[in-house]
Point group: C2
Chain length 350, copies 2
Amino acid sequence: MTDQITVSIDGMGGDNAPDMIVGGLDLAVKKIGNVRFLLFGDEAKLSPLLAQYPAVAAVCEIRHTTDIVTNDDKPTAALRSGKNSSMRLAIDAVKDGEASAVISAGNTGALMAMATIVLRMIPGISRPAIAASFPSQTGECLMLDLGANIECDAENLVQFAVMGEVYARNVLGMSEPSIGILNVGVEVLKGNESVKKAAQILQNSNLPVKFYGFVEGDDIGKGTVDVIVTDGFTGNIALKTAEGTARMFAYYLRDALTSSIFSKLGAIIAKGAIDRFRNHFDPRRYNGAMLLGANGVCVKSHGGTDAIGFANAVEVGVNLVRRNVTELIKEDLAHLMADDLEQPSKTAAE
Amino acid sequence: MTDQITVSIDGMGGDNAPDMIVGGLDLAVKKIGNVRFLLFGDEAKLSPLLAQYPAVAAVCEIRHTTDIVTNDDKPTAALRSGKNSSMRLAIDAVKDGEASAVISAGNTGALMAMATIVLRMIPGISRPAIAASFPSQTGECLMLDLGANIECDAENLVQFAVMGEVYARNVLGMSEPSIGILNVGVEVLKGNESVKKAAQILQNSNLPVKFYGFVEGDDIGKGTVDVIVTDGFTGNIALKTAEGTARMFAYYLRDALTSSIFSKLGAIIAKGAIDRFRNHFDPRRYNGAMLLGANGVCVKSHGGTDAIGFANAVEVGVNLVRRNVTELIKEDLAHLMADDLEQPSKTAAE
């Protein structure tokens, strides 16, 4: 049997918190097993919910606070005046060793700022990135950053490439993941200064990263590469554009399959296949993004998700702890950077 | 009967040129009727193709040149040394009044640079934008810029908003189109400096533009607003991400509907509905983007399209000419700007 894992939960973050949070914990505890929660938030709101979900209540400890970080709070303001917020206290629990992972569906910018300050960064990484998997024609594709950093320079993008490579290898089990930088064209002259310079660094570096070059937006769905690197502004918009397109597609498919007696009959006969198809694209399946680069496991759930999606984010956090990901990334990064420092001098000596 | 329209064609631009170009003209002439082409490119390659398509040959005049602009050419290099290229000569034909519209599937940056220099800009617009329609749950949504400008300041985005509004009203027939700016969140504090400042200008301006505020990537598919404004880097990646997601969705749908004897039978019975559904999302239907802001009709086709997609781009160009769009935009912009200049002084005097 696996060791019991303690997960700290920001009980008040997300559009439908705290209801969907506690509902999500209920689904998570039934699926994952051997997990314990520290649930941060307003006891007056959380207690009645726990009464509805005895399976959660049995493994859950409420840590009362009425302070919350809202979506309108600037990260700097959240850092200054949010020291007693459910989000901050949940992160503190990881730093203090009370919990092994923190899950929040709240304000992305505040979560990133707090996790960076409280947990600190993995040595060699200057800024964290939000990473998550996308479905693709060939399986799945890891993309980062999905919204932690609005503007990124070339150095940030290179660090994202290294973190993404390590993550894809250690967590997704890819043996030699290929890395692409998201751009408006595949030609070397295309794009802004950051992507051009980052590509140049990755092309010429001794990092053992399998760099493919530039990829375009449609390469996400094609599965051209295993890891796609981008700044948080573009990545967030690409992520949500893909989600929105999938939702629109599903909407029109439903519409088509109910448009006539023939289509209804056909849909009933093909129901098993159509249900599997729909399930494959359910965005809740892909909910739960890791804040890669932080020195501790921190998972961001989509703010607008429901209990099923939140449960998935909890599962992502638990798997990251069970796979010992932060330590693996730290080790691999240390090796990668040592290699990178050694190689050029070797070449110079040849 | 409508007046005959002369369209100049860059015969050598695009991944599958010139074959798909001439094939596209064949489809276009059969559909549109009463159109004439000036076809710029290598006569040795174009003549044998015209021999295969007598309907095109009957209304087409080849203008021979062996110079071409490649996808690797920087816009500045194309401007300097591409004066005899098929792209440049096709644009010149519009400036010289020989043709009413130019269509190219070639290098986007070069096309924008050449069209801007040769055709010049509509007064009041400092940079052109690529605009095209996306399918949405509520119908369609116009988005700009889709790749003409890698970096945009707030003033560019405001001009795109004005152009998009005028275009949506005059060409798409929307009575009071709503405008949104693409961002990583809807809260006013989110995003980079350009989008924040542009939103502030649109919110406080006297321009009669129905400004909705910020929208996110998934609002493209939802159809939250009629016009979405963004910089060319983000817009290009959003466009291609949506295309790629639609293609992946179609791939898995095909896979699901052929996975068992039941799904195959269901698909046969529902074939009519499924075909209509597929046709609705065919990216070739949405091919053909206008270079909004240029003082003349210039349409950019997707470089990787086929004859069906290229024919659609030709049709977009012909419709823009028939609807007299450039003049309508010029008139409306002059009014809008006159209003904007009047309003503040009125307010100050009150």
